[in-house]
Amino acid sequence: IVGGTPGNSPWTVSLRDRRGNHFCGGSLVSSKWVISTKQCFSSCYVDLAGYTAMMGTLYKNPQDGDPGRQSIRLTKIVCGPSESHLVMLQLETPVEINERVSQICLPPEHYIVPAGTICEIAGWGETKGTADEAVLNVAQMPVLENADCNKYFRGRVKENEMCTNPFHGGVGACERDYGGPLACQNSDCWVLEGVIIPMRRCGHPGQPNIFIRVSVYVDWIKKVMEL
């Protein structure tokens, strides 16, 4: 996260490759499923042997004795509808929900987050020197209506995407944050409204961030978990 601060996001998970290195983010949507983005994986049929999801810790590389750390193998990848760029990842065993690990709500189908709603992104990715890369960073930003966002992107933002507008320039998701959450608060509940996807630049001043709009794919997410 560029321009973020160390923070807490108990539904944000770190996806780890076979060497144990963090390579992308994800969000815990149930005790057995993580949602992320397809761009983090080579294909919808990738062999996940050796890949894990780590959660319950704020550190990018926690020590072995970290009491809250849970590291669970990934067993299955399911790709979303073609234009969604989403993947669902199944965990080998259910995660233990506690004060450090929590699942995030899904929005109602087709729900549109009102412009101005304050949401936050979280991740262990690149900070471009703006923060401590050893810990989870978060950044807050208000939702921007698609119509306004399209003024920046010349109409390229689609209905299945949504935007946020950083308060100040130079705040946004960056390398290795992809797949992580855009979480928005609704009363006292946090809702997964967006999934971070790669953009041409990260933390670029004066440029909104684009996310995949989760509410468009809630039916698919539930179907994957059910079937």
Partner: protein, 463 residues
Amino acid sequence: HRSHLNDFQRSEGRELVPNEWHKDRMQLLPGLTLEECAKRCSQNLECRAFNYETRPSVTCKQLPWVRDENTADVKRNVNCDLYEKKDYVRRCIVGDGKTYRGKVSQTQSGLTCQQWWSKFPHDHRWTPSAENGLELNYCRNPDGDAIGPWCYTTEPERRFETCNIPRCEDEVCITCNGEDYRGQVDHTETGLECQRWDQQYPHQHIYQPEKYPDKSLDDNYCRNPDASPVPWCYTTDPKVERQNCKIRKCEKVPLKNSRSSYTTHCFRGRGEDYRGKINETTSGVPCQRWDAQSPHQHPFVPQTYECKGLEENYCRNPDGSEAPWCFTSLSEMRTALCLQIKRCPDDIEAEDCYHENGKNYHGMVRKTRKGIICQKWNVNTPHKTKINPTTYPGANLTENYCRNPDADLHGPWCYTTDPKTEFDYCAIKQCAGEFVSIITPIKKVEFNECGKREERMSHSRLR
């Protein structure tokens, strides 16, 4: 720190089955650990292999023979692993080949070897024994001759000749950086013995064979699972963690960027065959040239990795990462992926189209967007169907045609015949010119089951 298992070649889930003649010569040792079983076999000249069974009970079956087309079959058995002494199954020799116990019985010029027990046509003073391994007429090197394993020939004119069995380091050559090396060298360039990949001592490591099924991390043979410049292994010396192996390089193949699988405008799989000219990261940072060592020092020198297309500063994937990547020109950002390069479109053409969400689609497309054939709606293999003609009688769920019984907004789908993929969307597109808005505003939303977090904890920790 050396394991006795290092003397053996493992075949997972296999059992060596004796024929009738062999049966009486098998020795059963119940309850031994794997290491102990290997030790007993190593120290016993009669033992050439062992079956290590884990079910119904742990049993070490020591066998005085190895696999052989004529006398001993290997069959599948998930409860058993087969270990054969390398000296008996290797196709190559180590050092001067004194320990070679293979079954080659012809000399380099094609002459048949004389039986070691025979003194005709050539008289000699060798006496076959378990120690010297002078069995039948197999090539051996009982005197440690520099010519390697040899034999007396059946040709009266030619007393003896070398069998020219290749040395392990020459038997299989490597191309590029040897990632596909599957040969049998098990010592490093300085002569240290390699540690088995399936063991965690003396060195702990991440390369467990079951995690890397495509890397063939067999026994303690040199391999290159991490795209290093050459094959390597962890060593059995506790002071030396890992070391390169010395293996012959193949003659250069002049073909450059001409393989039909190379792509230039998009990438397939992990993009190892991408040879396009994109030279900046997803976030627009220019890439560092591969032949430069600044701002980032790295091992991916184009001359070492000549098959990886490391030209200029183009995005490439020389190490099996998830997608093409590069070292960036920013000193504070070492590497980054080039995810702006598009994946190649599937070569599956839509044969049909559907209206709206396809709920009324009654066409005959029966494959998914990845080309996998659909499972029939009325069968339960490979996937048990919750949605089937019984639960959705009006949905026209016939044969294995793509349908949309649950009004999925993303179009017709089906259960798939791939056991790993329960369901997927079909290779059909929405009919041209149709646009249905997929979002509608909802005013009041309530949540109560998830998405909570303990704010106080994080605040106090931040302070």
